[in-house]
Amino acid sequence: MDTFPKLLMRHARERGARPAIREKDRGIWQTWTWRQFADEVRLLAAALAAEGFKRGDHLALIGDNRPRIYAGVCAAQCLGGIPVPLYQDAVATEMSFPIQNAEIAYALAEDQEQVDKLLEIQAQCPGLRRIYYDDPRGLRHYDQPQLMSYEKLLELGQAALARNPGLVDEEIAKGLGNDTAAMFFTSGTTGVPKGVVLTHDALIDRSRAVAEMERLGDEDVVLAFMPPAWIGQNIFSYAQPMVAGYCICCPESPETVVNDMREIAPTYYFAPPRVFEALLTQVSVRMEDAGALKRWLYKYFMAVAKRVGTKLLEGQKVNFLERLKYGLGDLVVYGPLRNVLGMSNVRIAYTGGEAIGPDLFSFYRSLGINLKQLYGSTETSVFVCVQPDGQAKADTVGPAVAGVELGFTPQRELLIRSPGLFKEYYKNPEATREAKDAEGWFHTGDAGYVDRDGHLRIIDRAKDVGKLADGTLFAPKYLENKLKFFPYIKEAVAFGADRDRVGAFVNIDMDAVSNWAEKRNLAYSGYTDLAQHDAVYELVAGCIEQANADLAREPELANSQIHRFLILHKELDADDGELTRTRKVRRSFIAERYGSLVDALYNDQETVHVEAQVRYEDGRTGTFSADLKIREARTFAPAAAKSAA
């Protein structure tokens, strides 16, 4: 079973009546069994073949997690074609690069919104010949010849299968493990995106290694709520279910995820840290509004959980009284809380893609949720390191998964050799050579080391690890993460390479800070206004000073304490190019765009005037100006911090 279509057909035979995909539609969870899913895929593949889709062709898929989008992925693979999922929230211009680069002629779009974007870039992408759409709403009057509805497409499939019933199965049989299975465009923190080419072998090998390690089976259930164009989502809601036979559930809409999660109660869960963070913020905000008794219970039992919850999960010894208290807490607080979060049945929860704050990490673990970290990227078919049960530490990402070899360059850059490595960057041999050397080592670009227990620890991006003017280590992302771990700070950008000290931009977390402001009767008119409040500066300065105190305790990093900061007038936004689609800060872009602000951090100005172009959602632009305050933050001498702590 070396390709996904073959795996699908096996599931259809072996567990044909078990659920493969559920989707909430019109308020009811609708189930597709493995047999139904396989039939749909076969029909769709036949239709694509009738449309002229050939071995090696690319099919773009643009939409949310929908059964039909995943059927499209597999249908393309049946014919030896290559599915290319694109981010559904990308703006039209961002889509034109992948479509041109991969010479995409066929696209399956979810709805009018996506169709509109594709039509908008038609001029730049004349090769895009066919656009199929799932939801016909609003498209009735579109008469572009390249458009066709999904229903119509299936009819073509029926006709094609009637002529030649074995059509698709013959094509599936021709597929080989080292054929390309899929292509994912990395968002790229710098430069243009690159198409990462992954084979069936790579994806299946990695999916299987972790499925075996975690004993995943067809009883498991996953809620698919991250963009399908993200490799993480694709592994969890396509590759791994194909290997392990579990069921994935598609939420009704992005707004209903929390509710759908509670209804489905998944057993296996994967989300980047920011999702866990958002959930925790919601809980904290709601607890602050609760009655006095509830607040007291929550506070008391969360303190118990903090003391012993993690130990219990790791199977360590805990005395009887504490055990009893935890049991009681489980009854009145942790259990209900897990239920509200939809995590009552979660057996394995992963987080990855970014560093997770230690408090955040232990919050979930102390509730009895088996949250673990993993490390990986698109180029490695995700799974490189995974924390095994009972060995989850906040500051590492666990030991290498079976089959993976880790290595390091003298500059501490992490190297990986694994059966899950990508084949190449599409049509970019130069980048491929740079990333993958002659001996098959993939240069991750991350700096880190392996600790005494064999767990990998990542510090920062290797190229971002710089030096301050006095030659001490400067790891911007490490600092930014430290700040982001405070609930009031949403994003941070640290500067300091080749400078004598470190300065930072901060984005406040609107949810948390507005709630905080409300409690203090602080009036504000919007983000910009709130951000420039003296009290808010005070609040953020407090966070930064705590981080500084922490840093002072780490000899290597004590010099990179943050001296001055300002709160930005707007939230950093992927639409403005300031973040990647996976919400990573694009530091150099920001430094360039806000050059005058960076300069102001390093001279003695108290305020700085900013005039910015803002782009509204409908594409219009406007200008905006404000005076931003700059503040000093207290720093600590390395020795003094010890006595203060």
Binding site: D25, R26, G27, I28, R137, G138, R140, H141, E252, S253, E255, T256, N259, E617, D618
Partner: protein, 256 residues
């Protein structure tokens, strides 16, 4: 007899000495978006209330398809397939979105009180069928995430959307919208415009709307009636109306 679905002829309405409408005539064609505009106090809402049967005109007739009436009453309007929304939202604040929209199905329910109370077979089947219709509307208006939320807790823009949903639940032939965009921000207005156009396009519902926002009116209407001091001063496509001197005078004021 054109393809008009609704026709108003020579309608005059007075409250004591105040003339709200004087001899107003216009028609509404099947599947069109028809706007009624005019400055404050021009008689727009009065006109809608006449169509809906809340006010009874002293003079004139109203024709709906082949039936002609001296005046309308709300229950008859509803059974003829005329539904409406209100300028000041009139929902049941304590009930959920789902239940509010369900009330819009009221006229379609056939089972009697006893059958419903005892949850007999026909009542159960009927309930399921109505629930499906309501779910279609929830899907159509993209309000799945607030299905179970009490309406009183929702922001204004969403309440307006729910109200539209309740009107749609009656599967109306004609939908009367009284200032559907009033008090909304730009984004909410844009959403609402899209929903109104989708209702018109996908469900084939004829729409009569009153609106203050001229941009909206000119964008989404097929034809516009302009009222001023209770009289019709213009009637035509947005382009025609925009260039009409009387309309410009009415809106910008003119020295007499």
């Amino acid at each position: 007899m054109s393809d008009a679905l609704l026709e108003v002829r020579n309608v005059s309405l007075a409250f004591g000495g105040v003339r709200a409408l004087s001899e107003v005539s216009f028609d509404v064609r099947r599947r069109e978006v028809r706007a009624i505009i005019g400055p404050n106090g021009a008689g727009k809402s009065s006109m809608l209330n006449v169509l809906n049967g809340v006010y009874h005109p002293q003079q004139g007739t109203i024709r709906v398809e082949n039936l002609e009436f001296r005046d309308m009453d709300p229950h008859r309007a509803a059974s003829l397939g005329i539904a409406r929304t209100f300028q000041n939202i009139a929902l049941f604040k304590g009930m959920t979105v789902l239940d509010n929209i369900m009330t819009g199905r009221n006229l379609k329910m056939r089972c009697n009180f006893l059958q419903q109370a005892l949850w007999l077979g026909p009542a159960r089947r009927e309930e399921l069928q109505h629930r499906r219709a309501v779910e279609e509307i929830i899907d159509f208006l993209e309000i799945q995430h607030i299905r179970r939320t009490p309406v009183g807790r929702l922001p204004y823009g969403l309440q307006k959307r729910v109200e539209l949903g309740r009107a749609l639940a009656a599967e109306p032939k004609v939908l009367l919208l009284d200032e559907p965009m009033a008090g909304m921000n730009l984004e909410e207005k844009r959403d609402m415009c899209r929903f109104v156009l989708d209702v018109n396009d996908q469900l084939g519902t004829t729409i009569v709307l009153i609106e203050h926002d001229m941009g909206v009116v000119m964008d989404i209407s097929d034809r516009v009636v302009v009222l001023d001091y209770g009289r019709k001063i213009a009637d035509g496509t947005p382009g025609e109306v925009r260039g009409n001197q009387k309309v410009i005078d009415a809106y910008l004021g003119v020295t007499h």
